[in-house]
């Protein structure tokens, strides 16, 4: 099973690599291949389409100005499930793509215990055992996995409608769907902030696909060591002395 997924991912990465490319300059490291980036932005596109079309249905008295963007209330209602389905499909591919680096480790449990000092800015660098993704990223990732399953199940029930699925099931699904959306909405602010203003130098990882070595040793020391063979703290000190 796992190997079949790996074979599929490898094939997909090769296929996307033959079309696109990632330029990695001196002093940089490859962060995300073309396949990952395409998936990320397809997920992002359909997430926001589903989010904004969902807003108009969730609180129309506050967000009804979103609905004309999609061509009116009925088109919003018609398109929202399709946006959601596309989101789930592309995110599902990303899950397969990221199954390995997103696996929870002992380092992540440590990270969660020290979260206060890391997020509070006391620690300038991530803990030395932080790998390709840190525990915060993994938490958000698995939250979206669970949320997407909730979306899919409750969404299909509401899509089928009360005559087919039963009115009580629809009524319950509606609440779970909303809760799932609200958690993801809170999460997207954090995600967008940390990838732009919160951590300068991060955004290019998902656009060009490459990050600076300094970025890597600062935020993902264990991953830096894995790809370069050098220790993150030492590399940082060397750079400081050079500067």
């Amino acid at each position: 099973m796992a190997s079949a997924v790996e074979r599929f991912d490898d094939k997909a990465r090769q296929a996307f690599e033959s079309v696109g490319q990632t330029a990695v300059y001196q002093g940089e490291l490859l962060r995300h291949p073309v396949y990952t980036r395409v998936l990320h932005w397809m997920v992002a596109l359909f997430f926001f389409l589903a989010l904004f079309s969902g807003f108009g249905i969730y609180l129309p008295w506050l967000f009804r100005w979103f609905t004309p963007i999609f061509g009116g209330g009925q088109l919003v209602r018609t398109m929202h499930p399709w946006f959601g389905l596309a989101f789930v499909i592309f995110f599902g591919l990303q899950v397969l793509n990221w199954l390995k680096p997103m696996a929870w480790t002992a380092a992540d449990s440590n990270w969660m215990r020290n979260m206060r000092s890391i997020v509070g800015g006391k620690e300038k660098m991530e803990p030395p055992d932080t790998g390709f993704f840190n525990a915060g990223q993994k938490t958000q990732f698995w939250e979206i996995v669970i949320g997407s399953v909730v979306y899919l199940i409750t969404g299909v029930i509401m899509w089928a409608g009360a005559p087919a699925a039963g009115r009580m099931l629809v009524a319950i699904s509606y609440v779970l769907h909303d809760i799932s959306a609200l958690i993801m909405l809170g999460g997207i602010f954090i995600h967008v902030y940390l990838s732009t203003f919160g951590q300068p130098g991060t955004f290019q990882a998902m656009t060009r696909g490459a990050v600076s070595e300094a970025w890597a040793w600062t935020f993902h020391p264990a991953w830096y060591k894995e790809v370069t063979g050098r220790d993150a703290r030492e590399a940082c000190e060397k750079a400081r002395n050079r500067g």
Binding site: I57, Y58, L59, P60, W61, L62, R64, T67, G72, G73, Q74, V76, R77, T78, V119, G120, G121, K124, M125, G161, A162, P163, R167, M168, V170, A171, I172, Y174, V175, D178, I179, L182, I183, L185, G186, G187, I188, F189, I190, Y193, L194, F197, G198, Q199, P200, G201, S212, A214, W215, W217, T218, F219, C236, A239, R240, G243
Partner: protein, 301 residues
């Protein structure tokens, strides 16, 4: 009747703030009384409804009963439900019940509706759909305990009985009432109809030996503006799915009016949180940071 303003809006789905025109002048609630013990199943009300509301007819399925079609449709709001009931003594009883929107005092469809102004409840008790505001989400169908709202896939809007709000607003009775030949259908104020219904029930009990006869005016939805006189009010289900204890799902009451705005605000805390993080803690920079400027008073470089 002409000087009374019965068509004032009382509730509007998904609408913020006070309801325009509320509390100006209130009139008595209207009510339709359906006496199932008198109905002969002539279907005149069905025809009158389709006629007055200009509903296009469509093909139906005949299932060897006296029922026009299995269920009401988006273009067929008024259906005489026909059921055969075998009584304890082995004899057969024909039950005819006029099925249509019940115009609940506490309408589940309105509670479920997310579209601003798609469902309104007038002060006279009529619950009406404004199709121009309907987004076709079909939540009202799941909110209705009587299985009444019907989705039209071609217009992507939901339709149901209006209690002829256009006629009632002009001081006329609904079309079905006008067509009924037996006096089974009556229309008037809620108080009057309840009085007549109770009188009829007493008559059925005393003169016809129907000790279980009763009025169907379910209080679990705050009472309805269509009430029935039933031969046996202890088992309304036998009249073709009339729920004994109609309920509105809690998710449309508690969730919608309390948790939805509150939790929606919580989600915005994410935005407030990252902004506060940016202004208090500041961004996390790639290490080593460039050296600080001389005399910069502790500013980051």
């Amino acid at each position: 009747m002409a000087d009374r303003k019965t068509l004032q809006t009382e509730m509007i789905s998904g609408h913020p703030g006070p309801v325009p025109g509320q509390g100006m002048q209130r009139d008595l609630e209207v009510c339709k009384l359906v006496d199932t013990t008198i109905c002969i199943g002539c279907k005149a009300c069905e025809v009158a409804c389709a006629e007055w509301n200009d509903l296009p007819f469509s093909l139906t399925t005949f299932d060897n009963t006296y029922q026009t079609m299995p269920e009401t449709r988006w273009n067929f709001w008024n259906l005489i439900k026909f059921n055969e009931h075998r009584k304890e003594d082995g004899t057969i009883q024909w039950l005819m019940r006029k099925d249509q929107c019940m115009h609940c005092a506490d309408p589940g469809c309105l509670a479920a509706c997310p579209a601003d102004g798609a469902i309104v409840k007038y002060a006279n008790g009529i619950v009406d759909f404004n199709q121009e505001n309907c987004i076709g989400c079909e939540f009202c169908i799941s909110g209705c305990p009587f299985n009444i709202p019907r989705f039209n896939p071609s217009t992507k809007r939901v339709y149901k009985c209006t209690l002829c709000s256009d006629r009632v607003g002009a001081g006329l009775e609904p079309a079905c009432i006008k067509a009924c030949p037996t006096g089974c259908l009556k229309f008037g104020t809620k108080d009057d109809m309840k009085f007549i219904a109770e009188e009829r029930v007493n008559q059925l009990r005393d003169k016809f030996g129907m000790e279980n006869a009763g009025v169907y005016d379910p209080q679990s939805v705050g009472g309805t503006h269509v009430i029935y006189v039933l031969h046996d009010a202890t088992d309304p289900e036998r009249y073709g799915g009339l729920p004994k204890n109609p309920q509105i799902p809690w998710s449309y009451t508690i969730w919608k009016w309390l948790f939805k705005p509150v939790l929606g605000t919580f989600a915005l805390f994410g935005l407030a949180g990252v902004f506060l993080h940016y202004v208090t803690v500041g961004p996390r920079r790639v290490q080593p940071e460039p050296p600080k400027k001389e005399g910069g008073n502790g500013q980051r470089g």
